[in-house]
Every structure is written in C-alpha cells, then in structure tokens.
Amino acid sequence: MTEQRTRASLADADTILSVRNLRTYFYTRDGVVPAVDDVSFDIRRGEIVGLVGESGSGKSVTARSIMRLVPVPGRIVSGEMIFQGRDLVGVSEGEMRQLRGAHIGMVLQEPMASLNPVLTIGDQVGELFAYHPDRAPDGSRDDAVAEILQRVRIPDAVRRMTEFPLSFSGGMRQRVCIAIATACRPELVIADEPTTALDVTIQAQVLDLLLALRAELGVSVLFITHDLGVVAEICDSVAVMYAGKIVEYNDVESIFARPQHPYTKALLASLPRLGERLAHLPSIEGQPPDLGDLPPGCSFSPRCPAAIDRCREQAPDATAIPGASGSGHVRCFVAADMLAAGAATANAAPSGSTP
C-alpha cells in the first residue's frame, strides 16, 4: 500500500515528530506480544494529538517507545521515529538522555508516584537544569524555578517551592509534574493519562493549563487517554488504537463528526452522555482481545457488527480518508470500500462486497 508513503511526503517542515511503522514487541515466556504493531502518526508544532485506547491497546507502550523507555522484555523491533531530524530508534542512550527532559517532557498518571517525597518541589524542578545545563537559565536557579511554578499557576510559588510534595493536593502535584515536564521548554510533552486520577473540576483546571502552556510555549503534546470527552475538549487530531494498531487517525472534528472505523463509531455511541437519557446504551459486545493471542485478520472483527468474511481472514492496511488535514487514515476493509465507492454516509449498511 502506498498511503503511508504519501502521508510521509505530506509531512511538512512543521512536523516535530514523525512516527513511521513503529513496532514494539514484548518477548515473554508465553510468546511474542505485539503491543505496538505498525503505528504511524505525525505531531506538528503546537499540535495536541490524542492517543485513545483501552487498556492493552498499546497507547502507553507507544509513549514509552518514543521516550525509549520500553520496559523489559519489550523491544522496539522496527520503524522510525523522526524527531528534529534524528531517528530516535537509532540514537545512542547518551543522546537520548540529552533529549529526555530537555526536548521531550513526560507527565504520568500518578503525580505522587512521579515526585520524590523527600525532596522539595523547588529542588525537583531545579534538578532538570543540572542535567541540561544548556537549557538552564542565566539568572539564579531559584528565580527560574519560581517563574516555572508561576507558569503552571501555582499560587504563592516562591514560598511553596520550599515545601514537600506531601503538603500539595493532587491537582497541585500534577501541576508540579507539568512544571517539571516543561521546565526546559521542550518541543514535545508526552502526557500519559495526566488527568485520569484527578477529580473532574481539577481535571478541567489541568486541561486549561495545558492549553495555556501550548499557547505560551508553542509546545506540542501527545495526550494519551481513554476518555473521549477529554480528547474532544483539547486535542487537534486523534489516533484511535485497538490491539496495538492505530485503527483510525484524523483531525478531531472529523473523528467525532464522521467516524469511519466501526470501533470508533461504537465507542462514540456507547459513551454515557448528558442531555438524553437512553433506555438502552449502544454497547460493544465481547471483550478486548488478549494481545498474546490475537484473532486472525482484523483484531476487532470478532466484536465488529460490520465484519465481513474478509475481515476474519486478512488484516486491513491503512487507507487514506479524504479529510481536512489530508493525513487521516483508517484500517478497515468495509470503511475503505465505502470511501472508495464515495459513499461517505457512514450509516449505510455494508454490502457484502468481495475484494
């Protein structure tokens, strides 16, 4: 298939990270687990890309692959991750260490687990400058740290930087983690479920903060979440993952308005929403697959209401979706057939077409 080449050529100078055909497999005692299997996407400068999926979909492993922090027994087996002209798959560990923290920041789900309870907040933010002297401020370290904490809207920053993480609330701790991730003004921040552990009003504050930081610093964000509501609030484009593959990738308006993949459609339909009480929520039957024992063909086919025979035999390739950004793609035979037939109306029942 040529779609991916086309998209690669479309990747313009604004592209900060370009992931191509990334595969990260886990070599366990029980066999090979393809946690990330042929994943491709781009992040442009200042763009917030959502990576959505359920547990085991491979979204966190994708993030860890970009950071080159795949836990054993996992390994990046192939693909490219072009970041600022360098392929992260090939750079040395020393070079990678220079990139982490300075050029690529990371925010994780549990702020308390990310912070060291026996160091002050100021020390933990300032620590970054010791690792990355080239990105350290000219003036005093304390001034710089206070400024960074103010940037993440921590009130009374000068006093609070001398305190320890335990005296911070959950939301404030996550702000500190964001401060650490953005201290060196990185080009990219990877946020892995950064608001999942927070209350909804605190989540709203953190989302607003991320949007503000994007405006102030021009930082790009890879936002990993299982919550489609959050995606709709802050993302510019979305990659939906299922069983290690990106099944649909498009700009956020198109994904929500015209989902192509049956999984995306079903996921959107099944969300409990406010505003209309339903007697029966549309649901996706079955269970997410076991990555170590995937069904043949398309991994979603056993749960897919639109599956045809072909879906159970072959795995579909990515097919371009004509859309706003021009780089959207979907991995589905039925959706591809409909796109090809020009039948963009997604509701039409799939005819049992043969290849």
Partner: protein, 332 residues
C-alpha cells in the same frame, strides 16, 4: 426464594437517611504524645434523603465528598456517629437476629474494582454463592441458583468452577454483579460500578444493571464521580460537597436547571465528547477544603463565584424549592 412485597410503583421509601453523620477520629503522633485531640474528619455531616423503591438514586461528588462513607454506613460497614439509616422503616444499625439476617439478604453491594472484590483463591461458585450459603442455602439448591445468576449476568455455567484471574475485567465485574443479585436482594449499592472498566465495557455493564433491575425488581443506590453515568442510570441525583448534600433533584431537572453554583460548575467541568461544542468552563478556583476543618457558613463559599457575606456566616437551609428539587444555597 421469597417473593417480594414491594413493587416498583407504590412509591414507598425503601431507604431513608435521617441526618446521618459519620466522623472519623484522627490518630497520629501528635495525639499520641501531646494528648491533644485533633479535630475529627467529618466525612458525612448531616445527610438526609429518601430512596423510593424502584427509583434509582445517584450520589455524585468528588473525592472527599463523603459519598463512599454513606454507602458503607448504609451497609453497616461503618457505625454512624449520629442520625440513622432506615431500611423499609427499620433502623439498620439496631437490627439483630432474624431481622439482621433478612437485611443482609435484602441488600448487597458492587464495588469499583473487581480485582479487589473477588478473592483470588476462591472459585467463582464459592464467590457468587457466598450470600446464599450465609443464608443457609446448601447443596443442589445452591448450585442451581449460582448457575441461574451466572446465566442472568451473561456468563456460561462452567464459569462456576473457574478462578477470577481467568476472566477479563468486564467479566469479573459480571461475577461481582452475579454475587450481588444471588440472594435476591431489594437494594443494591453500586459504588463506582463502571469506573475501573474499559470504555467499551462500561455500556455493557450499565445495560446489564438496567436489565437486571427490570427482571428482578431491584432498586439501586449508585455512588459515582461520573455525572454522565449517574444521569443515565438514576432517576434522582444528589450532589455532595464536603460531607453534605448541595442539591438533589430528578436527573433531568438537575441537568436542565441546576440551582446550586457547585452543581453548575461540576456540570460545566465535564468534558463533552463533541469538539464542536468546546465551551468556556466555569472557573472553580482552589481545591476542596479539609473535611476536618470545613469552612463556616456554607461549605462551598470560599470557592463559590457568587458568594455573598451571609454565605460565610449562616449555614444554608436544606429546602425543597420545587417539588422534589432540594438545594442548600442562600441565593436560590
């Protein structure tokens, strides 16, 4: 199984909370050495509501609001500090003997995390059958009922002899639901029943719960932080803030015309799965205060965008402003 005398339409309260309070005494080095009592954590501080049979009641609130403690107190896992819980008119915490045994049969609970609620070293048949065997059901009757409820929740009968770790997260929650309905209860407390589950599984479990309600004549008290889930599953919603109810109304009314400023902010903070409707979120500054030192007056006043002087002094009365629409705010 006994046949039930309550039915969904007669409107009798199956559960009533009367000014329920639950304080936790803090322990720590300071109190041990200095003999200075720290102020208690007022997890629940005067909550009253009624649950009508067949009408699901939802309690929403953020962490620290006290909603989980209410659930535990209803189920006698905690003793109330003050006030009472009435189940079918009888004070739950004064039940003894046969009446207590009947209360145990008539109520059950589904917790958030099936990994924690299913003992890893028990077979599914023993887990699901426990509420029955405690009631004295044995032998073939027990086995048949276990098979029956497993089928009811969509599991195959051969699940009975397997262990929890052999199932996926969604199936484990089905086992937990099977257990909850095994002894044919009237009231089931659902404590965050879907929040630990994958998004694609949530709708399945919510549909299952609704389906079981229709078939088994159940009433649910759902405790959750996700207002959209509660809105879909419940007829009445109570919004909690810092140990008290801020507002209570039929689900539709609460969503259409929220009266309490906290409810409005909570509603506006919920991310909508629609990128064309990105909205300005109402600002909520600060974080929830410590329940051991709640603010005087209205508990929400330090963070309330419309608070007036009076809010810092007088505690607002819990009053019914419209039929079935209760709110605790001076400014409504």
């Amino acid at each position: 199984m006994t046949t039930r005398d309550t039915n969904a339409t007669d409107g009798a309260p199956i559960l009533e909370l009367v000014n329920l309070k639950k304080y936790f005494q803090q322990e720590g080095l300071a109190s041990a050495f200095l003999r200075r009592k720290r102020p208690p954590v007022r997890a629940v501080d005067g909550v009253s509501f009624r649950v009508t049979a067949g009408q699901n009641f939802g309690l929403v609130g953020e962490s620290g609001s006290g909603k989980t403690t209410i659930g535990k107190t209803i189920l006698r896992l905690e003793q109330p500090t003050d006030g009472s819980v009435l189940f079918e008119g009888a004070d739950v915490h004064r039940l003894r003997g046969g009446a207590l045994k009947e209360f145990r049969r008539a109520t059950h609970v589904v917790f958030q995390d099936p990994n924690s609620s299913l003992s890893p070293r028990m077979r599914v048949r023993d887990i699901v059958g426990e509420p029955l065997s405690v009631q004295g059901v044995r032998g073939a009757a027990l086995r048949e009922r276990v098979a029956e409820v497993l089928q009811l929740v969509g599991l195959s009968p051969d699940a009975a002899r397997r262990y929890p770790h052999e199932f996926s997260g969604g199936q484990r929650q089905r086992i937990a639901v099977a257990r909850a309905v095994a002894a044919d209860p009237k009231l089931i407390v659902l404590d965050e029943p879907v929040s630990a589950l994958d998004v694609s599984i949530r709708a399945q479990i919510l549909n299952l719960l609704r389906d079981l309600q229709d078939r088994l004549n159940l009433t649910y008290l759902m405790i959750a932080h996700d207002l959209a889930v509660v809105y879909q599953a419940c007829d009445t919603i109570g919004v909690m803030y810092l140990g008290k109810l801020a507002e209570q109304a039929p689900s539709e009314a609460l969503y259409r015309e929220p009266l309490h400023p906290y409810t409005r902010i909570l509603l506006s903070a919920i991310p909508r799965p629609d990128p064309t409707q990105r909205h300005e979120r109402l600002p909520l500054t600060g974080e929830i205060p410590s329940p051991s030192a709640p603010p005087p007056g209205c508990r929400f006043h330090p963070r309330c965008p419309i608070a007036v002087e009076r809010c810092a002094v007088d505690e607002p009365e819990w009053r019914e402003v419209e039929p079935d629409h209760w709110v605790a705010c001076h400014l409504v």
